[in-house]
């Protein structure tokens, strides 16, 4: 009996380690940006109003959602965002990330203006059809702001507090579970005056 004990313990340990490994999503990388100020930027908006910068949102809790019309997982989470925006809890600002992909320019390089126009048209058409959960959406055509926010897999969602500090980052679509278990309680906590 004792002879089998050691291999059994080793086997059980191995199984536990492999099991834990299986449960974890290797695509979820802890972001070094949580707890840091949201990187500053100034980008044109979808509606063509004056450029938006995160400093405009100081003093309120807000959600920053990275999306694109070509992103399938974004469509998946979109209805949930629309529903969320209807509850008017906190504003969602969208970052349209690299709307114009390399494939769109196969027929020839587009000028900056043409890219902006195409991105606006396509995004607005999508939002008209699927509903617009965003207070406003900014266009990050070259993905530079995305890099500053550590974006590597759209959709990504950030919660930024009244002081402009990133408090949470979600990579991948927001699911009802994540919304109810994590996002809503966090927003509630950040939004209550101390």
């Amino acid at each position: 009996m004792k002879k089998f004990l050691l291999p059994l313990v080793l086997f059980a340990t191995l199984v536990v380690f492999l099991g834990v490994g299986l449960m974890r999503d290797p695509h979820e990388i802890p972001s070094p940006l949580v707890g840091k100020p949201a990187p500053a930027f100034s980008l044109p908006t979808l509606s063509g109003d004056k450029p938006f910068s995160p400093a405009d949102m100081l003093g309120q809790v807000w959600v920053f959602n990275v999306w694109a019309t070509w992103c399938v997982a974004c469509r998946e989470e979109h209805p949930l965002l629309v529903q969320f925006s209807k509850s008017h809890k906190v504003p969602i600002v969208g970052l349209s990330y690299k709307e114009i992909q390399a494939g769109d320019q196969a027929t020839g390089a587009l000028s900056e203006e043409a890219k902006l126009l195409l991105a606006r048209q396509r995004s607005q058409k999508f939002l008209q059809k699927a509903g617009d959960p965003y207070k406003l959406s900014v266009l990050d055509l070259d993905g530079r702001v995305g890099i500053d926010y550590g974006v590597y897999g759209v959709p990504e969602t950030y919660i930024i507090d009244k002081q402009g500090i990133i408090r949470y980052k979600r990579v991948g679509p927001v699911t009802p579970e994540v919304l109810i278990d994590t996002i809503l309680p966090l927003i509630q906590q950040l939004d209550t005056p101390v």
Partner: protein
């Protein structure tokens, strides 16, 4: 001698042609060379088992563009890596930095090796002491009984 000269000329010409062809890919060979060295040590975040140098993911392309820009701005390798770590975390580095949270990663294997060596040493010593089974009287009687049956 003449033959040698011809070969030499052909060699020189082919070198020139080659350099001419490579030009469009790398606008500045020096920047490109440094980019490859740095990007080999960085992980592409989309296809995580590829380095930033070899990945074809669009994000990798964008990040290479940023690294190129930083190289042209005369940033040091350490500054460029810090730039990426600030955004994507230690995960972008293929060689994780030494800090308390990565101690198990760096020293764990040596610990396991030490344990294994200790186990082996103990096992060998036990085996050397003799393999004769030590049975007490009761067990011996039991065994004899079994053999008789």
């Amino acid at each position: 001698m003449k033959q040698f000269l011809v070969v030499w000329c052909l060699g020189a010409v082919s070198c020139l042609i080659h350099a001419g062809e490579a030009q469009p890919m790398a606008q500045d060979p020096q920047v490109e060379a440094r980019l490859v060295v740095i990007a080999e040590e960085l992980r592409c975040l989309v296809c995580q088992n590829e380095s930033l140098a070899s990945s074809h993911a669009e994000l990798a392309e964008d990040l290479r563009r940023e690294v190129r820009k930083l190289i042209r701005d005369n940033k040091t390798d350490a500054e460029i890596k810090t730039y990426l770590v600030e955004r994507y975390g230690d995960f972008v580095l293929y060689k994780p930095p030494l800090k308390p949270i990565t101690w198990p990663l760096w020293f764990g294997p040596f610990l396991l090796l030490g344990l294994a060596v200790y186990g082996l040493w103990r096992y060998l010593r036990l085996r050397k002491q003799g393999t004769s089974p030590r049975l007490d009287a009761q067990k011996r009687a039991q065994a004899e009984q079994l053999l008789k049956d």
